[in-house]
Structure formats: structure tokens, C-alpha cells
């Protein structure tokens, strides 16, 4: 005898679906009931062209959280990271951030988004009032513009304006020493590229007034072929070239320009070169490229920084990135703030974070500070040096002077109408 199956949905399937529905709806309350652990939500970019940066952010956070949990947790509560992909889309970043807080019960947000995504998460922090630490966006206006200021949002990231001041003063010194008066620029054609190049040129001319920019090139973001840019620069015959191309764009550009022996004819200043993601990918890394530090385990030259870089490499079998140290610093700052506040309450921790100085392997003098006036990170190691084709890649880095940075940053803020 054969059993015939009745058409339609069976009773068992209906019960299963209803059960699953009940679990889904009840999940947030179950989550909130488990108050022993504290959940930190982290929207970041885990897919697409810059996925490597998001993954390195996740790695760094997990490395630090492991240490904090082993030492007793955040004010006695174990940390559980909830890390989700935003695909680099602002609307998705906002959605994920809201979901992390509203559904998963996260009490803190680490916003590991780039550019527009970070502004979208900033609005979520404004709306929900949740403690938020931006860990990747370098756009200065995120914290410099008073309209953006939120008492519950902090930035634990290097800043475009700081890099430009240090880069400008370093490049001016080299220009004066070597008599480099004719400069060209070649940067990606979007807000970051244009702003950073503009600010670099501003400070370069300020420190070395006789410098002249004789050629500007603006290749598209993610452009595959740079031939016309390279030949344009060759024809202009500058003595030095500045670029803020980054990641895969920078490495392709250098590989393609090497064919024309471009770098034997001029000095190259590439702010984003000294990052392992770029250094280890270029096929023939020319000697003597001037670069700002992104993350390099030899700067600051301290045992703590070297140990951190080695521990990261040992665990993940790859080098950390610029995003890694920033995310690791966010965990360190949060832990110290919770200790100071003796609480994990968002408002109390935010109060403790404001103006907090902590010991940190990435600090210029072994410490970093969350500046109280604009909730932003200062005192981190920042400098420029020249590359060699093998490890340690940038053997000597000339550190930037934070006193000068503060003075010029204040001037810049005034010129922008921020103060």
C-alpha cells in the first residue's frame, strides 16, 4: 500500500513555521535578558573591493576583545562582538547599525565604515542615542564640523587634515633641501582625492612658498589603466610628484609607471604607500618613495608596537592595516573608559571617554588622547619616511610635530568656519 501525500502545507510544517516565527519575534527580549555579556555592534565592509580593510578591522577588534575578556571584561561584563557586512553602502550601513541596536541588543556601536557609510551610521547614533565610536572614516568634517557634533559619538581615527599638515611640512623640507620647485599631483577624482591633495598643496606652499604645481591629473577611482596619466606627467617634467592614490589603485599605478621608469625621473610622495597592503603587493617597489605612515610595526619604534604587529601577524597570517590599529585603539579606549566610569552605561562611558588619555602602542609618545573639545583622537603616531623594497619597508620615519599640527589645525578650522 502506498501513502499519498495530501497537497498543501502539512500540520507539522505549519507548527515548525509558527515556532520559528515565535523565536524570531521573541529573540530581542531573550537577548536583552542576557545582560551578563555586553554586545558591541560593528557594521563594516566585508565584501567588495575594500573587503580586506573591513576584515583587518574585524581581526584587530577580535584580537583586543580576547585580551579584554581574559582580563575580566568590560567593567566585569564579557564582550561579545556582533560584526556585520554593510557592503560599503550607506543605506545598508544605517540599516545594519539600527538592526544591531534594536534587534541584537548591542549597547555600543563601532562604526568601521568608510566615508559616506560613517555619516549614515552617525545619523543612527544621533537618532538612537547609542554610544558610537567611528573607527575608519578619515573625513575631517565628521568631528571638526560643530553641526556634526554628538555627545555620544567619538572618532578614533587618523584625520585627513593632520596627514596634510605633517605631509606638507615634511615635503617642504625635502623640497628645500633638494631644490624641488616644480611639482605635479595625481590623485583619485573624488572628494577624498581632491580635498587631501588641495590641503597637501596648501601646506607644502606654506612651508616652501617657491614651490609651483605645474600639472594635475585626476584618474578615476578604480581606473585600470594609467598610461595617459603617466605620459602626461612625463611630458610635464616635474621634479616631484604627489599622489594620494590608495590600495589597489596605488599599486597598479606604481607597477604601470615603473614600465616608463617614471620614478627614476622624479621624487614620489605617496601618502598611502607605507601600508602593508600596498607595500607587499607592488611587484618592484622602487627605493626612496616618500610616504606617510599608515600602519607600520616599526613606527613608533617601540617594543609594544612591534609586539602588537607580530601578534596580529601570528594570529591571522597577514600584516595589520591602517584600519586595524584604529579599531584596536577603539577597544583600548572603551575598556579604559568603562574602567574609569566603573560602568558600561553608554552615557557614563561617553563622559569618561571625553578627554581620556590612555597608554597605547600606536601613540606618538606611547599615549593617545580622545580630545574633549571635538571627541576626536589625537596624539597618535604620525610621520613620513622613505621606502626600501624589503622589510622593514620604511626603516626610518620622521615623526610629525603635534604642537604644529594643533596650531595649524586650529587655523584650518577657523578658515572653514568651524570655530
Amino acid at each position: 500500500m502506498t501513502r499519498t501525500r495530501q497537497p498543501g502545507i502539512s500540520r507539522r510544517a505549519t507548527l515548525a513555521v509558527m515556532g520559528a516565527g515565535a523565536v524570531t519575534i521573541a529573540a530581542p527580549w531573550v537577548v536583552r535578558a542576557q545582560t551578563k555579556t555586553i554586545k558591541i555592534g560593528m557594521p563594516t565592509i566585508l565584501s567588495g573591493r575594500v573587503a580586506q580593510l573591513g576584515t583587518s578591522s574585524r581581526n584587530a577588534v577580535l584580537l583586543e576583545v580576547e585580551k579584554v575578556n581574559a582580563a575580566g571584561g568590560l567593567a566585569g561584563r564579557q564582550i561579545e562582538m556582533v560584526i556585520r557586512d554593510s557592503k560599503g553602502q550607506p543605506q545598508e550601513a544605517a540599516r545594519v547599525a539600527r538592526e544591531l541596536v534594536n534587534t541584537d541588543g548591542c549597547e555600543v556601536l563601532f562604526d568601521a565604515e568608510a566615508s559616506s557609510g560613517s555619516f549614515a551610521v552617525h545619523e543612527v547614533a544621533r537618532d538612537l542615542g547609542v554610544l558610537c565610536i567611528h573607527t575608519c572614516s578619515e573625513a575631517s568634517s565628521l568631528t571638526a564640523d560643530p553641526k556634526q557634533h554628538l555627545p555620544n559619538a567619538f572618532r578614533c581615527v587618523r584625520q585627513g587634515i593632520h596627514d596634510s599638515i605633517v605631509g606638507g611640512s615634511y615635503a617642504a623640507a625635502i623640497a628645500k633641501a633638494k631644490g624641488l620647485k616644480k611639482w605635479a599631483t595625481c590623485s583619485p577624482d573624488y572628494a577624498y582625492g581632491r580635498d587631501t591633495t588641495g590641503e597637501f598643496a596648501l601646506y607644502l606652499k606654506r612651508f616652501a612658498p617657491d614651490v609651483e604645481i605645474i600639472s594635475e591629473s585626476w584618474p578615476k577611482l578604480f581606473q585600470p589603466d594609467y598610461t595617459e596619466v603617466v605620459t602626461k606627467i612625463l611630458q610635464a617634467k616635474p621634479q616631484a610628484l604627489y599622489t594620494c592614490l590608495w590600495g589597489g589603485d596605488l599599486t597598479s599605478y606604481i607597477d604601470q609607471a615603473n614600465i616608463y621608469a617614471l620614478f627614476t625621473q622624479m621624487e614620489l610622495f605617496a601618502v598611502n604607500m607605507a601600508d602593508y597592503t600596498a607595500l607587499t603587493v607592488v611587484k618592484n617597489l622602487p627605493k626612496g618613495i616618500h610616504s606617510g605612515n599608515r600602519y607600520i610595526k616599526t613606527f613608533p619604534k617601540t617594543p609594544e608596537n612591534a609586539a602588537w604587529g607580530d601578534a596580529y601577524r601570528a594570529k591571522y597570517n597577514e600584516y595589520p592595516t591602517n584600519w586595524s590599529w584604529q579599531n584596536a585603539t577603539a577597544v583600548m579606549l572603551l575598556t579604559e573608559a568603562a574602567k574609569k566610569a566603573n560602568s558600561t552605561d553608554g552615557k557614563k562611558v561617553a563622559e569618561a571617554l571625553r578627554g581620556l588619555t590612555i597608554k597605547c602602542p600606536f601613540g606618538a609618545d606611547g599615549t593617545v588622547t580622545m580630545r574633549a573639545e571635538d571627541n576626536t583622537l589625537v596624539g597618535y603616531a604620525i610621520g613620513w619616511g622613505t621606502t626600501i623594497p624589503q622589510e622593514p619597508y620604511v626603516p626610518e620615519v620622521k615623526a610629525g610635530d603635534w604642537k604644529t599640527i594643533f596650531e595649524l589645525e586650529a587655523e584650518w578650522k577657523k578658515s572653514k568656519g568651524y570655530t
Binding site: 519575534i25 553602502q89 550607506p90 545598508e92 566615508s115 555619516f119 537618532d127 564640523d145 573624488y190 572628494a191
Partner: protein
């Protein structure tokens, strides 16, 4: 009796019946819309989950956008690859008006629709003359033009960082869009009203003209219909609904970003239509729910969502060879032993 006489005779016989039917179906549509709105509006009373409300708000934005795209793709046979530009225009127009002029929300809403209509009329006047792949690519070109303008006109649009600082939402007529529940109810109202209006367009004589253009544009023009004008009209109307979707999204994220006007948004719209089906009116709405559920569920568990979505596309494209609603409708018709009614 000549063919013409026969046609006239059949017209006299059938017209009153059709009119009564369409009259009745219009009332039925309004009734369904009211019930749908009542059910959606009652959701917050039964479920405290803010995530659910967020989900419905996003469904409203993408549902309006995808259904408006279906007016072009499914009803008129105009496959636009650049429909996302109107989504972006809506978000930016509304956001900029609210940030810079401080006008009340309804004024900004209407003004944004007016701006979108002007843009759509100009772009449409150039594009709708073209057919098939040429139309698709010229719409894509205009979309990239608008996207590039947003990126480069940084002093107005904020460039790649988008409109920052939040969109002010002053209360109007007792509605405070800064309140999550108010925003939710407003989004539902816009969704239901938008769908109802699009349904009326689709079921009107004009809607049937569009189907005729889709099936045979040359024959349509031979019977005296100005095909260019009809195509332009639906292009502008569809843009208005896409723009409304953009405004809902701008309110949800309290900002506008260049990604809203990027080609990937248009791609998502086409994907939603593929998922839900283009031969039924509610296909794109069902597709929106499917895509958002898929997206939200899969991204919770893995960053390899691309693979999962790819498999789903393959399943629909090669397995079902049609959207979900098309499949369901055909299956239902087969069970009843007759051909499925198509929109």
C-alpha cells in the same frame, strides 16, 4: 458586414459591461488598499520590534521604486537601466530642500516631485525615442551623468560623503517624522497610496495603450496613438513614484548618498522585478519583500551573501524562468484548469 462594422457592433455590446467591471474593480482596489493600510498601521500595536518597522519602511522605499520600474519594464516594454537616477533625485532633492530652505515637509515633497518631473521630461524626451538596448544604455548614461554630478558638485551635495548633518523633520499637521512610529505610518501611507495610483494607471485605458505599445509599437502608432507621447508620459509618471521611494529612503537614513543614484540601485530594481515577476501588478512588491528578507537574513550569517543571491538569481532565471508571482499565478490557473490572467 465589414470588419469595421463588426468592431463597432461589438464595441456597443461590450462597453457597458467593461465599464461596470472596471468601476467595480476600482472600488475593490481602494478597499484592498484601505485594508492593507489598516493592517500595516496596526502592526506596531502588536509587535514592539523596531526592526520590523524599519523593514516595512525600507520595503516602502524599494517597493515604490521597483513597482514604478515595472510600469516601464513590464507594462511598456521599456527596459530602463537608469531608473535609479530618479530614486537618487528624490532623496537629494528632498534632503537639500529640507536642509537649505527649511520649508515644511509637504512643500518639500511636492517641490521634489516637480523637480523630478522636469528632469524626467527632459531625459525622457531624449530617451524614449530609442528602442531596446539603445534606450537601456542611454538611460544608464544619464544615470551616470547625474551620479557624477552629485560626486563632483561637492559644495551642494557633499560629494562622495553625501548630505551630512541629518535631514530636519519639523512636525506638520500633527505628524512628527522624527518619531519612528509616525515615520512608519507615513511610509506605509505613501506605499499604499503609490501602489493604488500605479494600479489605476495600469488598469486605465492609458495602461492598456502601454501594453499595446509593448506588444507592437508600430501597430499602435498605425491606429493613431502618439507612441512617443505615451512613452514619455509613463516615463515621467514612473519617475515620480521612484522619486517618492527615494524620499522615503532619505527620511529613513536621514541623509542622501551618491550610492542612491548609482547604477547598482537600478540593477537592484531589475533584480527585484525578476524575483517577483513583471506580469503581475504586485510582482515587484513581492520581489522587494523577498529581496530584503533574503538580504537581511543572509547578511546576518555570512559576508558571502553574493554567492547566495547569485544562486537565487540562477534559480529564478534558469529554474523557474519567471518571477515568483508569475509562477504562482500560472500554478493557480493550472489548478483551476484555465489560462492565468495576466496584467
Amino acid at each position: 458586414m465589414t470588419e469595421l462594422q463588426a468592431e463597432r457592433a461589438s464595441e456597443t455590446l461590450s462597453t457597458p459591461r467593461i465599464e461596470t467591471r472596471s468601476f467595480r474593480s476600482r472600488y475593490l482596489d481602494v478597499l484592498i488598499a484601505l485594508i492593507a493600510f489598516a493592517v500595516l498601521a496596526a502592526l506596531p500595536l502588536f509587535f514592539g520590534s523596531k526592526a520590523l518597522l524599519d523593514f516595512v519602511i525600507r520595503c516602502s522605499a524599494f517597493g515604490l521604486f521597483a513597482t514604478s520600474l515595472n510600469l516601464l519594464v513590464g507594462y511598456t516594454g521599456m527596459i530602463s537601466f537608469g531608473h535609479g537616477m530618479f530614486f537618487g533625485l528624490g532623496a537629494y532633492g528632498f534632503g537639500l530642500l529640507m536642509q537649505r530652505t527649511g520649508v515644511p515637509i509637504p512643500v518639500a515633497f511636492v517641490a521634489t516631485l516637480a523637480i523630478t518631473a522636469v528632469f524626467a521630461a527632459i531625459i525622457g524626451a531624449i530617451c524614449v525615442r530609442l528602442k531596446e538596448i539603445y534606450f537601456a544604455f542611454v538611460t544608464l548614461a544619464f544615470q551616470m551623468l547625474i551620479h557624477s554630478t552629485i560626486l563632483t558638485w561637492a559644495s551642494l551635495t557633499g560629494g562622495d560623503q553625501g548630505l551630512r548633518g541629518g535631514i530636519p523633520r519639523p512636525a506638520f499637521l500633527g505628524i512628527d517624522l522624527a518619531n519612528h512610529v509616525h515615520l512608519y505610518i507615513t511610509s506605509c501611507a505613501l506605499l499604499v497610496l503609490g501602489l493604488l495610483l500605479m494600479r489605476q494607471i495600469a488598469q486605465s485605458p492609458f495602461g492598456y495603450t502601454l501594453r499595446m505599445i509593448r506588444d507592437n509599437a508600430r501597430r499602435t502608432s498605425f491606429i493613431g496613438i502618439d507612441v512617443w507621447r505615451a512613452k514619455l508620459t509613463i516615463f515621467v509618471l514612473a519617475a515620480l513614484f521612484a522619486s517618492t521611494g527615494g524620499m522615503v529612503m532619505a527620511l529613513f537614513v536621514s541623509g542622501a548618498y551618491p550610492e542612491f543614484a548609482y547604477w547598482t540601485i537600478s540593477g537592484e530594481g531589475i533584480f527585484i522585478n525578476m524575483l517577483g515577476g513583471v506580469t503581475t501588478f504586485l510582482g515587484p512588491t513581492v520581489g522587494t519583500v523577498l529581496l530584503l528578507v533574503l538580504n537581511d537574513t543572509v547578511t546576518r550569517f555570512t559576508e558571502y551573501h553574493g554567492i547566495v543571491l547569485g544562486v537565487v538569481i540562477l534559480f529564478f532565471a534558469i529554474g523557474l524562468r519567471k518571477g515568483l508571482m508569475d509562477y504562482v499565478l500560472e500554478w493557480y490557473a493550472q489548478r483551476r484548469g484555465g489560462p492565468g490572467e495576466r496584467g
